[in-house]
């Protein structure tokens, strides 16, 4: 099994025209996430956050799946997760910083759901700001099927996206939320045929990459602040953000463009 010891890239990361594309790259394993995947994904997400040339991030899979979730074979064989405590440590020390980074980095993050997102794979899709799917996409909280409770932030994310009723049904039944239902519930922003997914996502990402970046960052910061605060606190935080934004070149340019358009 010489291929096993070959250095293998589980994650691809390219930046083009302001769009940082992070791709799960284990199509033969339905993009299962193992120890090496975690390390490479963590690096890619960190780089995407820090690199100013990246204005928009896209997270996607290769092959048929977005991601089938944790590499259970690797877990059973004991690589890196020998004890229950290891399982907890991987969640706290590895997944948590990645998921927090996706949700809080001050730039848009789009999940291009080229197929099923299962377990921790669904967590990554749900931690993104926007999801675009195909008719074959689905979200599956498969934990209960192997005797586990939900993790990867879905106990927080899913109830906020779909309400507790649908979230509980997914957690209890271990059955998928199919593309059409996910779209109807607003979890997936829109559904396009697989052959059009890349183009659709590229168009959206390019558009967002041309939008004023601090204004978009402000929207993300305000939403993240609001999710932890009262209505009054959210209003106040917005008002201060808006003061900063009103003093920015982005606002000056935006107003100029707006006035020019009206005259024209």
């Amino acid at each position: 099994m010489a291929t096993e010891v070959e250095p293998h890239t589980h994650i691809e990361f390219h930046t083009h025209d302001g769009v940082g594309l992070i791709r799960f790259n284990r199509p033969e394993k339905m993009n299962a996430i193992g120890a090496l995947t975690r390390r490479q994904l963590g690096d890619a997400i960190k780089q995407a956050e820090r690199d100013d040339a990246v204005r928009v991030v896209v997270l996607t899979g290769s092959g048929r799946a977005f991601s089938s979730g944790a590499d259970v074979t690797e877990m059973v064989q004991g690589a890196g997760m020998r004890t229950p405590e290891d399982v907890g440590n991987v969640l706290r020390n590895e997944y948590m910083p990645m998921l927090v980074r996706l949700r809080t980095m001050p730039k848009p993050v789009i999940a291009a759901m080229n197929g099923p997102a299962v377990g921790i794979g669904a967590s990554f899709a749900l931690a993104c700001d926007i999801r675009i799917g195909t008719p074959e996409s689905y979200l599956l909280e498969a934990f209960v099927n192997i005797g586990l409770a939900p993790d990867g932030g879905v106990s927080w994310l899913l109830p906020r996206l779909v309400g507790t009723g649908v979230a509980y049904e997914m957690f209890f039944s271990g059955k998928p939320l199919l593309a059409a239902d996910a779209h109807r519930l607003g979890v997936i922003n829109r559904i396009v045929p697989l052959e059009r997914l890349e183009e659709e996502v590229r168009e959206l990402a390019n558009h967002l990459a041309s939008q004023p970046r601090n204004a978009m960052a402000g929207a993300k910061r305000a939403v993240n602040h609001a999710l932890e605060s009262t209505f009054e606190q959210a209003l106040e935080f917005e008002s201060y953000l808006q003061e900063a934004q009103a003093a920015s070149a982005e606002f000056a340019e935006g107003v100029q463009k707006f006035l020019a358009r009206r005259k024209g």
Binding site: G218, R221, H225, S229, E236, F237, Y240, L241, A244
Partner: protein
């Protein structure tokens, strides 16, 4: 704005009636070296004596408040060296500052940096602020009041967590605990602290001073003593011109103009 000269490790901006002190060693995350502490406390003593200054903002700038003491300077010191340094005495101009002092905290306020923030009267935190006492990781404990001011502000259990785990708390958690007055967008923290300082600077300065003194008294005296002291300050203020001005302005429905007399 007048930038006062003669300081290397801090910036002092005098914009009467307020002043802003900025810790200014960004390359070392504003580590609190003996030189920086000397400059900071000297500047505070000057501002305390300056009648034109009525409120002060203390900040580390947009990225970091202060990531702690200068460990390089401490690693090989002995107990007697540290004792001779007189930790309590050297912070007196900060802990005993008589005018309202607002900390504007972005990024890390750790160890001594956190204790400096806790010695201020109000704390405004950017969303990026992190407060913590990581001293335990180095085999020591906080030495500038952290073990005393945390529990007096938030109670025993979370204070213990802060001291014993060394893990920092986020701006939002600090707000929920009551250590932080407001969480604001990081680019606005210093500006808002200055705005707040200007609002406070419009108040009668002697009343502000007595109010501050009375609140601090609550932290280190029994209730009866604190109440008696409050009462004396209350009587004292009736001997000031500002009290006459304040009450007459109120009755005449105009804004009072206060002189600190």
């Amino acid at each position: 704005m007048i930038a006062a000269m003669g300081y290397e490790h801090i910036l002092l901006e005098l914009e009467p009636p307020i002043a802003t002190l900025t810790l200014n060693r960004p390359k070392v995350l504003n580590a609190l070296s003996p030189e920086l502490i000397r400059e900071l406390t000297t500047a505070l003593a000057e501002l305390d004596a300056d009648e034109n200054v009525r409120a002060v903002v203390l900040t580390g700038g947009p990225k970091v408040f202060a990531a702690g003491a200068d460990i390089g300077d401490m690693a090989d010191r002995g107990a007697v060296d540290q004792l001779r340094r007189d930790q309590t005495g050297r912070w007196a101009p900060l802990a005993g500052f008589s005018k309202p002092l607002i900390a504007a905290v972005n990024g890390y306020a750790l160890g001594g940096g956190c204790e400096v923030a806790l010695m201020c009267d109000l704390i405004l935190a950017g969303e990026t602020a992190r407060f913590g006492q990581p001293e335990i990781n180095l085999g020591i404990i906080p030495g500038a009041g952290g073990t005393q001011r945390w529990p007096r502000s938030i109670g025993k259990y979370v204070a213990m967590e802060v001291m014993l785990t060394g893990a920092p708390v986020t701006a939002q958690r600090a707000y929920e605990l009551g250590v932080v007055n407001k969480v604001v967008p990081a680019e606005m923290t210093v500006g808002l602290a200055q705005r707040m300082a200007r609002q406070i600077a419009e108040k009668p300065p002697l009343a502000a001073r007595m109010a501050k003194e009375a609140v601090l008294k609550a932290f280190d005296s029994p209730l009866t003593e604190g109440l008696a002291s409050e009462r004396k300050s209350f009587y004292f203020l009736f001997a000031t011109e500002d009290q006459k001005e304040g009450m007459h302005a109120f009755l005449e429905k105009r804004k009072g103009v206060f002189k600190g007399r």
